[in-house]
Symmetry: C2
Subunit: 162 residues, 2 copies
DNA sequence: CCGATGTTCATGCGTTTGCATCTACCTCAA
DNA sequence: TTGAGGTAGATGCAAACGCATGAACATCGG
């Protein structure tokens, strides 16, 4: 006899259903966050870059940044250029690699990130905190970390260490 | 024993950490999916619209669609217009509301969604399936569904204009 | 040392997006 | 019925994006 047809579906369906649920949660919450009146100085995408740079303890490369930001390389290059023009990001040539650029926040950029981040974090805490309990948040973090931290099953090689 | 202050601070961090982890997972997987050679006919954003329409059993409104798609209303309006020009989506005036439009897939649109969806679902199943076990996927789905919140929590610290 | 190949970021260009605004329609109170 | 106010979607326009490609540098085999 076949498996029960109640809620039993294949692994593929499980994977797709969970991914769809994640996408929905992402879209719904992003829309709520975008509606907050805190993006008058930096846009959400710009904040994404500022936040990623703020997490680093030393300058990072553009390509490195591009792994965390959902933008094409040219688009990110120009976004960084705009942030540099506004004095929020500093672009310096990489002494170890003449092709590369080393990106870091300026003091103004760090301050801007803190200011926007403080307000945005409150929204995140309110929305996520209202939906999930402590243990659920911990579980969600663990699962999404695991989801992101996978090696590619097929494709070209990627340097993990240095 | 009480720890109100610490609890609130801790919850805020929990919420922000889990949200950041979700964002990272979203960005990382989206980049992998985008790299797949299956978007030659419809882009990921177009597919998002086709998929959302495919899930509906009857025509939906643009604003309704816009709640699921992470685009501004004008951008979505024009995206739908392009899809309609390509014969994938049908736009009909809503008999119940002269302002609205009723959106539905054409037969070609449904077929296109199925074709792209089949290939994309394989990628999703491979990536997500490789990272999480069955029970983990079920848990992730449950948590992200809860996070998306069919109903907004009452007693919001926002504007109660309802 | 040299040329071939790969990598990193920037630039040209057509397309798409967001913001502000407009039009058309709905709702409701007077 | 009518007009004020609200809502749904479309449109003008500048900004931003993705794709293809270019320029500069790195790497490696011969």
């Amino acid at each position: 006899m076949r498996g029960a047809t109640m809620t039993r579906r294949g692994r593929g369906h499980l994977a797709n259903d969970s991914w769809e649920a994640l996408l929905t949660a992402h879209a719904v919450l992003m829309k709520r966050f975008a509606a907050a009146p805190i993006w008058d100085e930096v846009s959400m995408r710009e904040y994404d870059v500022l936040y990623t740079l703020a997490k680093q303890d030393r300058p990072i490369r553009l390509g490195e940044l591009n792994r965390n930001v959902l933008l094409s390389q040219p688009a990110l290059s120009r976004l960084v250029e705009r942030l540099a023009d506004r004095g929020l990001v500093e672009r310096a040539p990489d002494p170890a690699d003449g092709r590369g650029v080393r990106l870091a926040l300026t003091e103004a950029g760090r301050e801007q990130q803190r200011r926007t981040g403080r307000r945005h974090a409150a929204d995140v805490a309110r929305e996520v905190g209202a939906a999930l309990g402590d243990e659920e948040m911990r579980t969600l973090e663990a699962l999404t970390r695991k989801l992101a931290g996978q090696d590619r099953p097929s494709g070209e090689a990627e340097e993990e260490n240095r």
